[in-house]
């Protein structure tokens, strides 16, 4: 049987040569992401801003304007309506009633549901979330802490297991990935809720995974070819790991695409964020973290000056 080989043997793409261009592209995208987040902001779900959210499922796509007018007539604040991939499902978001106790919130949910049901008798309600301002502040705080802590912990790991340059370059690359994801959510205005934080953390995990594989190979080659210059080593390492990079991103993309298409609307944001993260994470492994190693002045150590630190690490045994 002839097996599929996505990347031919002995592929040698001059990744490092394109470094300048890639740097420009990265800078441009980063600026766009920052501007998008700053100017448009994120479309935070009730998890982060508090409020109540009612998910309504209609028998056919409802006229949003009419729906909005119906709810606005209740005079309980302006409703924000959002359709998922399936146009029949609408998420209705409202602020929590002022100074509310449970009774008022209950009544408000019932009120909205009855109003919508009167106008569209075939509607059913999938889920209802009510999050108070205090809880949403905590969720926001812990969400930010979680992402930062994960990135720092992983960068520390890179530093301890490798050299400080690896830790720093990985840190920068991951921050880039997180920023790109935020930028994507700012541009598309997809709802940003707790599950997206999980997605961001997974992107961090995946992206680091990808970088460690390449970093590991760079370290191995630095020890094997002590006379080679850093550009050569990075090109060689990226090319050697390219079949794996392509295979793994493809398998994960297969899994995520299945999730996006068949996983139902609740998981849509999560899958979309992760698909983006896989693409961005793979790109940043080559053009942010690896390229940065050159700028940070990492060089193979000549044999004459053996490093004290290196001896403490696990050395791959040469040859057999």
């Amino acid at each position: 049987m002839r097996l599929l080989k996505l990347i031919p043997d002995n592929t040698n793409i001059g990744f490092v040569r394109l470094r300048g261009w890639a740097f420009g592209l990265t800078a441009l995208l980063t600026v766009i992401a920052v501007i998008a987040v700053a100017a448009r902001g994120l479309n935070f779900g009730v998890d982060f801003v508090g409020g109540l959210s009612i998910e309504a499922r209609f028998d056919r796509p409802p006229p949003l304007d009419q729906l909005r007018t119906e709810i606005d007539r209740l005079g309980i604040g302006s409703a924000s309506l959002q359709q998922f991939g399936d146009k029949r499902i609408v998420s209705i978001r409202l602020p929590v009633p002022k100074g509310a106790d449970e009774g008022a919130t209950n009544a408000e949910v019932k009120n909205v549901q009855n109003t919508v049901k009167a106008a569209f008798p075939a509607v059913t309600f999938g889920k209802t979330d009510t999050v108070s301002g205090k809880v949403s502040e905590e969720l926001t705080f812990w969400g930010i802490v979680a992402v930062l802590l994960a990135v720092f912990a992983i960068a520390m790991f890179g530093w301890v297991r490798f050299e400080w340059q690896f830790g720093l370059s990985t840190f920068v690359a991951i921050m880039h990935d997180v920023l790109m994801t935020l930028g994507f959510f700012a541009v598309t205005q997809l709802e940003f809720d707790l599950t997206i934080v999980a997605a961001v953390l997974t992107i961090v995990g995946y992206s680091i995974n990808d970088k460690i594989v390449i970093d590991d190979r760079i370290r191995e080659n630095m020890r094997k070819y002590r006379q080679m210059d850093m550009r050569g080593i990075i090109d060689m390492s990226v090319n050697e790991t390219l079949p794996r990079t392509v295979m793994t991103s493809l398998t994960i993309l297969i899994a995520l695409t299945a999730l996006l298409v068949f996983g139902g609307h609740v998981l849509r944001g999560l899958s979309l964020a992760m698909i983006l993260g896989v693409v961005v994470g793979t790109y940043s492994s080559i053009y942010v973290s690896s390229s940065l190693l050159i700028s940070l002045g990492l060089k193979p150590q000549p044999l004459a000056a053996p490093k004290v630190k290196a001896s403490a690490e696990r050395m791959p045994t040469e040859g057999l």
């Binding site: 209950n106 994960a150 953390l201 299945a258 057999l320």
Partner: protein, 526 residues
């Protein structure tokens, strides 16, 4: 490296077989598991987003706890000083501390001693729950200490969890989860229940029931302005109308033995209550002395009704009528029966998922996982041939083992958990990709079959370890910091990382080793 002694192979197969067997009860569901006689085996629970149900986070009003303790201490001090014939002036509970004057300066020391005797030590440190000090030579001040306040809240919360549990159990819902969260919160999760309003009405009600005599001497004009004579207080009816009642409690909800929904004279829903012996005697005595006067039935400081005592009530039972529906009378009965909440609880977060959406999510999740698995299996097959098949078997086994581990720990599978599952399938094959690519590479460099395989596993294992370790770091952070959906996702991710090392590295190595020993291939079709 390629040596696998028999005991090792037996051991690996045994672990895998256990994994598959333990996963089965979760896959076939409760009813089927019972039918095949394996109902006793642990199963994975479905999260609320999959089973449908209500998730309610309650927060205690902690200021309320301290206030109640201050009031209780005020009563104790008053009676204690009276008992010891220490004359004291008006007490005050302003600014979160209890202050009183001792009229006779000579008695100040005795008063402090008596007050101190009412405080308690907390834990091993021996710190008291109240600080007793003297200011301006004759003013005694009792301030609750930080440790004291924490202890009061802790006590109240423990009681509150009990009361909430009793109330939910009384509703007959199945398998509710009621856990304390942090110092002042209670998380309630009730699967398969889609009437959150009733649930909240039930657990959010303090249900402090008191019977007090109405103060007939109070000046109605004063009462309307919210002022009551000494020894009385102004309360309000449900419609907001004020009424003056005596502060002294005739009888309270703590003395009732039974509460149930009943029907009154006009067939309107009421709650009938029965007091214990002591309560009944006291109630009988007070009603005997006050025939013709009204008394107020007060629930959570709201006057439900103020019926006139037509004759002494000696049987120890009474009926509470108000603006009840059958449903609200039932929940009040349950609330009274379970006792009052020691602290008022407020809903700060509520999530309800309808059973229909839950079922849809399960279907979508299973479909997505299956398609992802089939896609990846085919892809690995066409890329790595025989070695792809080994990886595929490893992936399938891994799915079973993740389910088994979750079942053993009684884990909960949520919708984000399913996403974690799909992602784990994707990343688990990464280990095999790393290994197989490395074998290809070594082969290209001209090493022989055995060397290539050995080196491939060895070199790739280091990378896999490092990659998994970092992946696990982000998983652990999610588990520690995350709430709800993030946690469910992290649990599956972490289990998947751990089990995939076993299936994707150890298991496939055993398969490859077996194949090489059996067939002694001269070339690797990889």
């Amino acid at each position: 490296m390629l040596d696998f002694p028999r005991w090792k192979r037996v051991w690996i197969c045994f672990v895998l077989a256990c994994g598959v067997l333990l996963a089965i009860p979760s896959l076939i569901g409760e009813t089927q598991a019972k039918r095949f006689g394996v109902g006793f085996l642990p199963r994975i629970n479905l999260g609320l987003d999959l089973s449908g149900g209500s998730h309610i986070l309650l927060e205690a009003d902690t200021a309320d706890v301290t206030k109640a303790r201050l009031a209780a201490m005020e009563d104790t001090i008053k009676s204690e000083m009276r008992r010891n014939e220490i004359e004291i002036g008006e007490t005050s509970t302003a600014n979160g501390r209890l202050t009183f004057f001792v009229r006779n300066v000579a008695q100040v020391d005795a008063a402090v001693d008596k007050a101190r005797a009412q405080t308690h030590g907390i834990g091993a440190t021996g710190q008291r729950d109240w600080d007793v000090t003297v200011v301006d030579s004759n003013r005694v001040v009792l301030t609750p200490t930080k440790a004291g306040i924490d202890a009061f809240i802790n006590e109240a919360m423990t009681g509150a969890v009990d009361v909430v549990r009793k109330r939910i159990d009384a509703m007959g819902t199945r398998e509710p989860t009621i856990v304390r969260q942090g110092s002042d919160r209670i998380l309630v999760e009730v699967p398969g229940f889609d009437n959150p309003a009733q649930l909240k009405a039930l657990i959010g009600k303090t249900a402090k029931l008191e019977f007090k005599l109405v103060d007939m001497e109070a000046d109605q004009a004063q009462v309307a302005q919210g002022r009551a004579p000494v020894g009385s207080q102004v309360l309000h009816y449900e419609n907001g109308a004020p009424i003056a009642v005596q502060r002294r409690v005739i009888i309270s909800g703590t003395q009732l033995t039974k509460a149930q929904q009943a029907y009154g004279q006009n067939n309107d829903p009421t709650v009938s209550i029965t007091f214990n012996g002591e309560g009944a005697r006291r109630f009988g005595r007070v009603t005997q002395d006050n025939v013709g006067k009204p008394f107020a039935i007060i629930l959570d400081n709201v006057v439900l009704s103020a019926p006139r005592i037509n004759e002494p009530i000696l049987g120890g039972s009474a009926q509470i009528s108000g603006n009840f529906t059958v449903e609200s009378a039932q929940s009040l009965a349950i609330a009274l029966q379970s006792g009052a909440l020691p602290v008022a609880l407020k809903v700060v977060e509520e999530r309800t998922v309808g059973p229909q959406l839950g079922a849809d999510s399960i279907r979508a999740g299973v479909l997505a996982s299956s398609i992802a698995a089939v896609g990846i299996i085919l892809f690995m097959l066409v890329t790595y041939g025989r070695y792809g098949v080994y990886a595929d078997i490893a992936v399938v086994l891994n799915i079973f083992i993740i389910l088994a581990v979750m079942a053993i720990f009684n884990g909960t599978l949520t919708l984000p958990g399913i996403a974690g599952f799909v992602l784990t399938i994707g990343t688990a094959v990464d280990a095999n990709v790393l290994i197989n690519e490395r074998i290809r590479e070594e082969r290209r460099r001209g090493r022989n079959v055995v060397q290539s395989v050995e080196l491939g596993y060895k070199e790739a294992s280091r990378t896999i370890f490092e990659a998994n370790a970092t992946h696990a770091i982000s998983g652990i952070v999610m588990l520690l910091m995350g709430t709800g959906p993030i946690k469910g996702f992290a649990v599956v991710l972490l289990i998947g990382i751990a089990t995939s090392v076993f299936t994707a590295v150890t298991f496939t190595r055993m398969m490859v080793a077996g194949y090489i020993r059996r067939c002694r291939p001269t070339d690797l079709n990889i």
